[in-house]
Symmetry: C3
Subunit: 296 residues, 3 copies
Amino acid sequence: MRVAVAPNGPELSNIVAGMWRLADWQLNIQARIRFIEEALALGISSFDHADIYGDYRCEQLFGEALKVAPHLKAQIQLVSKCGIKLTSDNHPYQLNHYDTSAAYVRAQVDASLANLGVEQLDLLLIHRPDYLMDAAALAGTFRELQKEGKVAHFGVSNHSAAQFALLDDQFPLVTNQLELSVLEHQSLDDGTLSQCQSKCIRPMAWSPLGGGRLFSGQDPAALRVRAVLEDLAKEYSCSLATIAYAWILRHPSRPLPITGSGRIAALKEATAALEVRLSNEQWYRLWVACRGHDVP
Amino acid sequence: MRVAVAPNGPELSNIVAGMWRLADWQLNIQARIRFIEEALALGISSFDHADIYGDYRCEQLFGEALKVAPHLKAQIQLVSKCGIKLTSDNHPYQLNHYDTSAAYVRAQVDASLANLGVEQLDLLLIHRPDYLMDAAALAGTFRELQKEGKVAHFGVSNHSAAQFALLDDQFPLVTNQLELSVLEHQSLDDGTLSQCQSKCIRPMAWSPLGGGRLFSGQDPAALRVRAVLEDLAKEYSCSLATIAYAWILRHPSRPLPITGSGRIAALKEATAALEVRLSNEQWYRLWVACRGHDVP
Amino acid sequence: MRVAVAPNGPELSNIVAGMWRLADWQLNIQARIRFIEEALALGISSFDHADIYGDYRCEQLFGEALKVAPHLKAQIQLVSKCGIKLTSDNHPYQLNHYDTSAAYVRAQVDASLANLGVEQLDLLLIHRPDYLMDAAALAGTFRELQKEGKVAHFGVSNHSAAQFALLDDQFPLVTNQLELSVLEHQSLDDGTLSQCQSKCIRPMAWSPLGGGRLFSGQDPAALRVRAVLEDLAKEYSCSLATIAYAWILRHPSRPLPITGSGRIAALKEATAALEVRLSNEQWYRLWVACRGHDVP
């Protein structure tokens, strides 16, 4: 189930397990190991981290599991992100801001490697577009990290097409991790997904279930979308979540959705979507339900 | 009066006769033949169709005329479009949606050729941007249709600059058919017309009279624009419509306006615009009238 | 303190003196000479003009000073702009509009040279994007003016990324002069500054103090920004204006801010910013103060 994100890699699992809320799940080390093993059994071998997730603690929680079960390291791929300076008790910045300087990126990569207890990240993303990014300098930092073996591949997250192009001109990026769901899909129109397709790279899709709004939102768009999801779930004998993932997977940019749950059952709903191919008509039914008007 | 739409063709008449409402005009076959002949006499040799116009019936109405007067075929150029699945009595889709798969595009081209009773379309456009378009696959379909002689050239309609680029990278497109009129000209600012100019291709302009709003609209913009049109029409001793067409023709992307009327007099108002060259000042007077504020 | 705006020049001073309001300052010729000399003493050797500034009179006022003190000519760089037809008593157009025809651009360059009393402009900008611009023809005009020695380099002002690309494809432009200040920075997001960085050209920044709103604006954004400016000014022992200039200079596109004042003290506040390097955190504090929300 692993797919090449870009012509020269990396190869990640088509569904990626998001570790954003790992700390919230309150799993002891054995439960964390079990979660990784069960994800692997489902074909989910790639894990999406960021230095700042869980108030900077998620990578360490994950690393503790790998330390006890080191055989897992060879079976998984690790994605992480850096570039956000998030204020917290241990990081008393005046306010959240961005930093893509060589010093900060190197420091955060070293921290991620130490916390995860591995020697290399398969993929490092710049978390948010930093207005102060020096593209040439950052590309140099990428080259150094690659040469040192600390990071295999590089990409970005939440970058506009112009912001992506600026860095990609200096260093070939392998992905743009974007918000994409039936409820939030401005990336369909703002040129970012078109750019991924033009460059033959696959986007990663965060918040594939609209942050839960898909299931509990009471706004008109959420209500309309939920009704269609229920219809289609009945037709395919699957869950609403599976249809929501299938909607993302159907896009020709071939996105890699990132799950958000600590329940294996939820991960199964995601991988089940790999077996569901929505028709064009079904895909547009969901698009129309969200927009509240016909296609033009 | 024929002009090259792109460096390698096709050559269309500078004013194109739009067949969108052919069914509404309720012309018998002889009247349809007369319409074509009179258009040709005015120098309008290109006819803009789509598979779905007139609830999928316009192409056939046009083809019936060509069957009775087959000598006309060598004198005209035929543009058609496909990609929209429009619900109707004979096409009971659940909702309108798009389809740019090989199977559907090929089926619709075959239907257009059969309905028109010709062996080749001069130009085929993808009617609307299909989020589910597989650019590489569609380019392959274009190459096959071209090789088989069924379609000579390909373009798109209503595509954003990024959407255009995605397909154009795979297969060189010869036009982007866009809405453009004194009242609706966001294509001036959204990069689509600039892209046409950069690529040395000519856009086609649909709804050149703002769908009639230019003449009967009671909104402030329509009232302001109409007042200036009346002024300029007096100055050039022509109709308001002629000035509205001249405004489009003055743009450096050199658009090909598409008429919408079944009256030959209306077509004459369009071709008359080829003799009117608005000054920069007159062009901006109309722009300012629509926007309701000075140029910055 | 001179910097190359583009790989092949021109070299301008990092702070450029804007002559927009020269006529308002009501300086006699000796005072104008003194202003130029004092600017030069501060390292500000480049002066930003436009044909239309001061109701078409500023260039002449500047030229009168150069005529009396011709030794200054070799020490300064002159930037001018054309393309706007501004209505005034001596220019009774029906309305303000744009004109980038060969005839008008050539006429305005000749007028600028005559009014300034020099043989060459170091840099000529197209003042506003002209929808009616014929890019190939304008590029030809640029080449002629360059060959004739009348203008050394060419750029644009206020052009979108697509509009810039259209002309740049025909003739390599050296800058895009954009509005940029702590209070007005949509160029951070609209792709124009990214484009400058991708092309290794430096933008020029007009209205760097938000047209005075930075100091006297009573809207929430201005109040929030002013509070942070006061904080930082205290920290760096400098003026609010110096911090506002430092904010612009910190952007990786390396903009050249254009002053607007006739007071040498105000120019000193601008050049003082060359010695202030805001931290990432300080830069984002000002961005957040303007936007009124955290970074995402």
